[in-house]
Structures are given as structure tokens and as C-alpha cells.
């Protein structure tokens, strides 16, 4: 599997294997019509995980507070619809993106001056503060009861959000396509290459004259915006916002999904949420009380045996197959020599 590491040697052309998620996404709509709401949730989480991969996987910024941006985006979309009567889904997406990006810019300007554990704790603190604000501002957010009464206008005035979640699914898939294209472009750009440089060696990037802080702030802002858009999609899909979108569990769960799929390789953000959410859904059906034990075991296995995530396992399998086929082609000429 190609690792999709931004650099001056990396080939930015889209490989045929990269079309697979989109083929599966379209196929799932027709083959699994009863699971469209689950599918939309997965698509939202893939976009959310992509935003996290940009900061954690590529820029090496550790965070446990990405739910602050996801939650803000979710609440902005919800408040626009339920309190201000702005129900256009695309406008909500754009406003949520901008609001979360601004929060990313404002908080990143302060916290990105720190590193490691301090940074981790500060990201956590920001999400906690936001969660508490949402909890107390009942008049605006609905507090612990959540924000309901959200309506969504038809997209372009044509495509209505239906009970079966068909429109929501297509909208999530289209938003993910745009988000993926953007993130991929960023990763393969000189900016993306410099992010990899910062991740690999922060001190050396400073020593070659790179504005490291500015680059980190830029990517943090972009990532926050994408997470905000994912939050808005979640609101439009569920037509409800609860405090859980701002919780530590939301950030933690997202990080687990990314680790499960593989960090710093774009498609880990696809594989992780798909496996995690489907496993969660199936385990919850089979073992309603103990489903989290199954998820925990899955994570322990990944951490112990596949630190590069599921895509890392695939990497090793592909490498082993290639080694075997190389060894075979090396042996075959000797055989023909022998017959001659």
C-alpha cells in the first residue's frame, strides 16, 4: 500500500486503488439500503478522522481535543437551523467550517507554542471548556437535553432530506469527496512536505529557516475547519445535537479509529472508522452490555501486533507476497538452466 507521505519525490497521481472507497461508497447505497444512516455516520467519521490525520499523522501535533471543533461545527449548524432559521445545508456547512477554523486559529495560536504533554492537556482543556459552555448555555444549545427542532432545507432547493437517509448519505459522500481531495492536495503540496519535515524533525525544520509555528497553526486551522464541517454533517444527518459531540470520548474514540486504520496515510482515516463503527454496531447487537470489551480487545491486538494499524498489516502481507514472488522468479531461471 502506498503510504501517501508528502515529499518532493512522492507521485501525486491518483492510483486505481484509491478509487475503491468511492466505488464501495456508491455500491453500499444500492446494496445496503437499510444501513444508510449507519453509512452516513461512517462517512462523517471518515471526514472527521481525515481532519485528525492531517494534524496527528502529518504534522505530528498530538491532540485529544479535536471534538471541540467537531462539536462547535455541529452546534453552529444546529443553532443556525433551530434558532436562526438558516436551514440551507450548504450554507451551514460553510459557516460551520469557518467557525471551527476560527476557533482552531484562536486556540492554536496559544497552545501550539507548547509541545508534547502540555499540548495534549491544553487541547483536552479547550474541548472541556467548550463542553461546559454548551452545557450551561441551555437557552442556546439546549444544554444536557440537546438541541432539537433542527430542519434542513432541500439541497439546491431540489433534494429533500428523507426519513431513510438517502439524501443525507449522498451529501455526506459528496462532502467527504471534497474533503478527501483537499486533504490529499495539501499532503502532496510543498506545504504538506514541510509538515512531514516538522513531524520528522521539528528542530531541524527551524534550523533550515522554516516558519514551523506558522505552518503548524495553518494546518491546525484547516483541520479544525474540516472537523467543523464534519460536525455540521452530523447535525444535518441526525437533526439533533447532543453534548456528546464535544466530549472527551468523541476525541478519544476518533483517535482510536485513526490508530486502528493507520496514522499518517490518508486511507487509515477511511479504514479505521469503517471497522470501528461496524464492529461497534455488530457487537452492540450481539452483546449489548459487553460491546466495549470487544472494541477494547480489538485495540489491544492492534497496539500489540500492528502498530501501523490495519493498513500496516496489509503492507506487511503485500511485502511478504512480493518477497515470495521475487524469490520464485530468482529460482526459475536456475531451473531452466538445469534443463538446458
Amino acid at each position: 500500500m502506498k503510504r501517501h507521505n508528502g515529499s518532493y519525490s512522492a507521485d501525486p497521481r491518483i492510483g486505481w486503488l484509491e478509487l475503491l472507497p468511492w466505488v464501495l461508497g456508491v455500491a453500499a447505497f444500492f446494496l445496503l439500503p437499510d444501513y444508510l444512516s449507519l453509512g452516513a455516520r461512517i462517512l462523517v467519521y471518515v471526514l472527521y478522522a481525515l481532519s485528525l490525520d492531517l494534524v496527528v499523522g502529518y504534522a505530528g501535533i498530538v491532540t485529544l481535543g479535536h471534538s471541540a471543533f467537531f462539536g462547535l461545527g455541529a452546534y453552529v449548524a444546529g443553532i443556525l437551523a433551530a434558532r436562526l432559521g438558516v436551514t440551507d445545508p450548504l450554507l451551514e456547512l460553510i459557516v460551520s467550517f469557518i467557525a471551527s477554523a476560527l476557533l482552531g486559529l484562536a486556540t492554536g495560536a496559544v497552545i501550539l507554542r507548547t509541545r508534547a504533554l502540555t499540548l495534549l492537556m491544553l487541547t483536552l482543556a479547550i474541548a472541556s471548556i467548550l463542553s461546559e459552555i454548551a452545557n450551561k448555555a441551555t437557552w442556546l444549545t439546549g444544554g444536557a437535553d440537546g438541541l432539537s427542532g433542527i430542519t434542513v432545507s432541500p439541497i439546491f432547493g431540489i433534494f429533500r432530506f428523507d426519513l431513510f437517509g438517502k439524501t443525507a448519505y449522498w451529501m455526506c459522500l459528496a462532502a467527504l469527496l471534497v474533503g478527501w481531495w483537499f486533504v490529499r492536495r495539501v499532503i502532496y503540496s510543498p506545504f504538506g512536505a514541510s509538515l512531514v519535515g516538522i513531524r520528522e524533525n521539528y528542530a531541524r525544520m527551524s534550523a533550515i529557516g522554516s516558519p514551523v509555528y506558522g505552518r503548524m497553526l495553518s494546518v491546525y486551522t484547516l483541520s479544525a475547519g474540516i472537523a467543523g464541517a464534519a460536525g455540521a454533517l452530523m447535525t444535518q444527518t441526525n437533526q439533533f445535537v447532543g453534548l456528546n459531540v464535544l466530549s472527551f470520548e468523541s476525541s478519544g474514540e476518533l483517535l482510536v479509529m485513526l490508530i486502528l486504520g493507520g496514522v499518517g496515510r490518508i486511507y487509515g482515516a477511511f479504514v479505521g472508522p469503517i471497522v470501528y463503527i461496524i464492529a461497534q454496531d455488530q457487537l452492540a447487537k450481539q452483546f449489548p452490555e459487553y460491546w466495549s470489551l470487544g472494541i477494547g480487545l480489538l485495540l489491544v491486538i492492534i497496539v500489540l501486533f500492528a502498530r501501523d494499524g490495519i493498513l500496516g498489516i496489509l503492507d506487511r502481507i503485500v511485502a511478504a507476497v512480493r518477497r515470495r514472488s521475487t524469490a520464485r522468479t530468482a529460482i526459475e531461471p536456475k531451473r531452466s538452466d538445469a534443463t538446458l
Binding site: 515529499s7 518532493y8 519525490s9 531541524r204 505552518r215
Partner: protein, 249 residues
């Protein structure tokens, strides 16, 4: 000769411990200057103050005639100050050519761009390859940097710094950790560096120092003990006493 780098009464204390004591130092354009001294003399601290990685407790750093004491590392790099590190400081997950390309791109002001893919900036890659060729590393261009032998990694350290086209080059123990059989290669590279660059080398390998440097400064306990030509240094009994031994007398 034009002075390209200068320090005036540079001091640094770590708590009550003085590690640099009123160091006055001058480096001229095209200089081949070595800074030597026993372990703990404060050589790396001195270089870190020159580059802006450490702020001095007092005194001034003058680069190209301007006081840069309060300027960031990045600002000093933009004014032509390059350095290599005592311990390899490379981008370990990247190939050799990509290590150099990052520095080339930053110097060209491309590092923040998002519109075109990095690979489409062929001029960056071409310049990086040309630089690797001058150091004899062209065959290792695609090799993952962490897979290269240590001696070659030291050369990549130098290549990254040269990619920034510095006017002043600070080489912090370029031969550190390199097997003695391979230090000649480091020396060949150092001798082939552009003549106009002012070079300050910190090195423990005395053979390399005496073959390369035209001027030497001895630092002991954070203070300048002596400065002179290699012959003057080798003759001085104080140097023999603190550092060199009989071999270079």
C-alpha cells in the same frame, strides 16, 4: 577581510554555572576557522548562541554587520547563517534527496505553497540532485536516510546546510562518530566547499582541524584561552597543557 560573524562579550550562565564568559570572536568571509577545546568547554553552547537556539545572558551576536542577538533562528538563517548538528539531525522517514529538497524549498520560499504538488517543482529536485552529486551522494538519492551508513548521513547533514546557500557555515563536529578510515571523505568535502563561505568548525579530530583550519580558537571553561594560526596554537605550551599533548608541539 570583511567580518561576517562576530560576538562581543558573549556570556551565558545556566543558573550559577557560567558556560560562556565574555567571548569576543570574529569570523571573516572565506575563513576556515576551528573552535576547539576539551569536553565541556562550552563549544556547542557557543554555536547554539550564534544560531539563536540559545539566548545569551549578555553580550551581542553580529551577523553581516547587524546585531541579531534578539532575532530568531529563522531570521538568522534568512540572513545566511547555516549550521550542522553534532548528532545527526535529519528527517529520518524521508529519502536522501527529500531531506535536501526540504531545505532547498525553504530557501526558495516554496515551503508554504499548496497549489502545485511538491513533485511538480522540478527545479527543487534538480537543485537537490546537483548538490548530492557534488558530495558524491547521487547514488543514494532515493535511499531512506535512516538506511544510509553514518558517514554518509554526516555528508547529508552538510548537504542540507549547503542547500540554504549560507554565507556563514557552522559545522558542529562534522566527523563525530565517523570511522577514522572515512574522515578523509568529510575533509575532502569540507575542502571543496565554496571559498567565499566563512566556515567555523568545531571538531575533536585534531588531524582534521590542523589540515583544514587556517585559524584556531581554543575555548576552555567557557572563555577564550588563545587564538592563532595552527602553527602558533601547536607551539603554545598552554594549549599543550590543556588539550593537545605532545603530539602537535
Amino acid at each position: 577581510m570583511t567580518v561576517v560573524l562576530e560576538t562581543r562579550a558573549l556570556c551565558k550562565n545556566f543558573g550559577a554555572l557560567p558556560v560562556a564568559q565574555s567571548i569576543d570572536f570574529q569570523l571573516t568571509a572565506g575563513a576556515r576557522h576551528a573552535l576547539i577545546g576539551p569536553n565541556g568547554a562550552g563549544k556547542t553552547t557557543f554555536v547554539n548562541m550564534l544560531t539563536g537556539r540559545l539566548q545569551p545572558s549578555s553580550g551581542a551576536v553580529i551577523l553581516g554587520g547587524d546585531d541579531v542577538t534578539r532575532l530568531s533562528q529563522r531570521e538568522r538563517v534568512k540572513r545566511g547563517l547555516g549550521r550542522t548538528f553534532q548528532i545527526n539531525s535529519l528527517f529520518r522517514g524521508l529519502s536522501t534527496v527529500d531531506n535536501v529538497a526540504l531545505a532547498v524549498a525553504e530557501r526558495r520560499g516554496l515551503g508554504g505553497r499548496m497549489l502545485k504538488p511538491a513533485r511538480a517543482h522540478t527545479d527543487v529536485r534538480d537543485e537537490s540532485m546537483a548538490l548530492l552529486r557534488t558530495l558524491g551522494l547521487q547514488d543514494d538519492a532515493a535511499t531512506l536516510i535512516s538506511s544510509l551508513p553514518y558517514g554518509k548521513q554526516r555528508l547529508v547533514e552538510i548537504a542540507i546546510t549547503l542547500a540554504m546557500k549560507p554565507k556563514v557555515l557552522l559545522l558542529d563536529e562534522p566527523a563525530a562518530g565517523v570511522p577514522s578510515m572515512e574522515t578523509h571523505r568529510i575533509l575532502d568535502v569540507l575542502e571543496s566547499l565554496p571559498a567565499e563561505i566563512g566556515i567555523l568548525i568545531i571538531e575533536h579530530d585534531m588531524d582534521l582541524v590542523f589540515r583544514f583550519a587556517r585559524r584556531i580558537t581554543i575555548l576552555v571553561n567557557g572563555a577564550t584561552l588563545l587564538e592563532g594560526t595552527p602553527e602558533e596554537i601547536a607551539r603554545d605550551p598552554r594549549v599543550r597543557e590543556v588539550y593537545l599533548g605532545e603530539r602537535h608541539a
